[in-house]
């Protein structure tokens, strides 16, 4: 069913701008009165205003990208550098461990980054790093208020990112795969 919007030409009264003016005065006055009387839910925050009481963002908000650990506390990132390549403003800088470097701190992974830096002044919070990461090791999280006193301070290193990112529960790709593989092994297959 199509809805036909009536776009008949303005009549004389409407052309004088008066109805639009009256309507505008009404709308703004309504908002004004509501706020002044304290009946406006948008301004009435009960427990206080922003800097003291931080704004609670909803699940799924795309704030700053941080690295996460799995439930065992090990680094999920495997230093594949996909995020470094995809990052549009080149905010990510990864130093891989190199052939002699330290291996990963968890099974099923070869390596982890020696250093992982995100320049929060460059990051545009696009979420491509999260999208591209094969290990689900980097997530845009709820943190929206980033501030610092110098440019250097705004380059977050690996420790900081891991600390801020915390543990990302639920997603443990390799554990999952391992269980799948085990199941496959013990799967009773009848070969005739």
């Amino acid at each position: 069913m199509t809805k036909v919007v009536d776009r008949s030409p303005l009549n004389f009264y409407e052309k004088t701008y008066l109805p639009a003016l009256v309507e505008g005065f009404k709308v703004t006055a309504r908002h004004f009165v509501r706020t002044v009387k304290g009946e406006n839910t948008a301004t009435d925050l009960g427990d206080g205003y922003y800097p003291e009481v931080p704004w609670r963002v909803n699940e799924g908000y795309r704030g700053a990208p941080y690295l996460v650990r799995d439930q065992e506390g090990s680094t999920k990132c495997v230093s594949c550098q996909l995020c470094e390549f995809i990052c549009p403003p080149k905010a990510i800088k990864i130093t891989p461990p190199g052939p002699e470097g330290q291996g990963a701190d968890r099974p099923n992974a070869e390596k982890m980054p020696r250093e992982f830096e995100i320049n929060m002044l460059r990051c545009i919070f696009c979420g491509l790093c999260q999208e591209v990461c094969p290990e689900e090791a980097i997530f845009l999280q709820q943190h929206y208020s980033l501030s610092g006193l110098s440019r250097e301070e705004m380059v977050y290193n690996k420790e900081k990112l891991l600390k801020l990112g915390g543990v990302h529960a639920g997603i443990q790709k390799w554990k999952h795969k391992l269980e799948e593989a085990r199941e496959q092994e013990s799967f009773p297959v009848q070969v005739d």
Binding site: L21, G24, F25, T28, H31, T35, V36, N40, A42, T43
Partner: protein, 360 residues
């Protein structure tokens, strides 16, 4: 010796004028500061926000209840704003035309204050008439000064030597000239009715016969809209329109020079509100308080009435800002030249006929 000098009428005139100028200037400056605050608070309320509510000097919070209340209302915000303007870096870009770049802010502030000279803001206080200069061509003087106001903006746009300010300057000169004509024509009919160009006489006429806004509603509408255009307030803020021209003519300005433009805009707003009160709303008079005051108290009440009327009009100015979108340039010209000027002319003719028929 001193008494001799003080009793000389011209010396007295000089002293009283100086005192009036000082007081008016002080009052207007305070008004500017708090008009900014009111604007921020009103806009916040209209847009479902809270507005400035946390500036307070450390000692003020020590006052029991009042301190917190004043902080909530943002009463200290203007001081913080002023301090910020003074302390900011005053930056002059290397490519500007320096002399005009420095002159422009001053040129844009001065006319706003000069127009206040002819406005009768009260009847009298003691022996003194409450107007700085009681010119018998008051209204023409106002228009003359207002028409000079455009130079500040045009020169600022031109001397900044970059695209956006320049566009802002060009727009403002076209806009100001167009709307000045409509504005000037709209008041002609008022003086046809009252028969004198002196603003004090006009107020007295209104005190005796009733406010002119009831005689001349068309004039009032045209004057009001033109006043919006002349003060560059939304919906006529094409010269500075942030969304198109960054900051328009004051894009390159910073610190105190920018503050002067800001001050000029609000002083203009005050001046045009005061002008409208004088022209259309009976100045210091109320329907039942029409006699020039004899006592000191009466004089003060008249000044209070004038200021109250002015504040109402300024709130209308502020209110409209958060209500209407900006005009497009061609719409602006269309409204000015093809609607208002013919309307104002027709109004003059009609009024002239009316005066000729009834005032025989």
């Amino acid at each position: 010796m001193l008494e001799n000098i003080l009793s000389d009428p011209s010396v007295q005139f000089f002293l009283f004028s100086a005192a009036k100028i000082a007081v008016v200037f002080g009052v207007v400056m305070t008004f500017v500061a708090y008009a900014v605050l009111v604007e921020r608070k009103v806009s916040a309320a209209i847009q479902d926000r809270v507005g400035p509510n946390r500036t307070a000097p450390p000692l003020a919070l020590k006052i029991p209840v009042l301190g917190r209340l004043l902080q909530r209302w943002g009463m200290f915000q203007p001081m913080a704003d002023g301090l910020k303007f003074i302390l900011k870096e005053d930056f002059t870009p290397a490519y500007v035309r320096t002399i005009y770049f420095w002159l422009a802010p001053a040129i844009s502030v001065i006319p706003a204050f000069l127009t206040l000279a002819v406005i009768p803001f009260g009847s009298n206080l003691g022996q003194q008439k409450m107007v700085i200069a009681d010119l018998n061509v008051g209204i023409l003087y106002t228009f003359g000064i207002v028409s000079l106001g455009v130079y500040g903006i045009v020169l600022a746009g031109w001397s900044s030597n970059s695209k956006y300010p320049f566009l802002g300057g060009i727009r403002s000169s076209a806009q100001m000239i167009s709307y000045e004509i409509a504005m000037g024509m709209s008041v002609v009919s008022l003086f046809l009715i009252s028969g004198d160009l002196n603003l004090s006489k006009l107020v007295e006429w209104q005190a005796n016969h009733g406010w002119l806004v009831f005689y001349q509603p068309v004039s009032f509408v045209i004057f009001l809209v033109a006043a919006f255009a002349e003060t560059n307030r939304l919906p006529f803020d094409l010269p500075e329109s942030e969304t198109e021209l960054v900051g328009g003519y004051h894009t390159e300005y910073s610190s105190m020079k920018f503050a002067l433009f800001f001050l000029g805009e609000y002083a203009n707003m005050i001046a045009s509100s005061a002008m409208m009160v004088t022209l259309f709303f009976g100045g210091w008079s109320l329907p039942f308080l029409g006699k020039p005051a004899e006592s000191l108290l009466g004089g003060l009440i008249h000044i209070g009435i004038f200021i109250a009327k002015m504040i109402v009009l300024m709130i209308v100015f502020i209110w409209v800002r958060w209500m209407l979108p900006r005009f497009r340039y061609d719409q602006l010209m269309d409204l000015g030249w093809r609607r208002f000027i013919p309307l104002a002319l027709a109004n003059i003719v009609a009024t002239a006929l009316g005066v000729a028929l009834f005032n025989r």
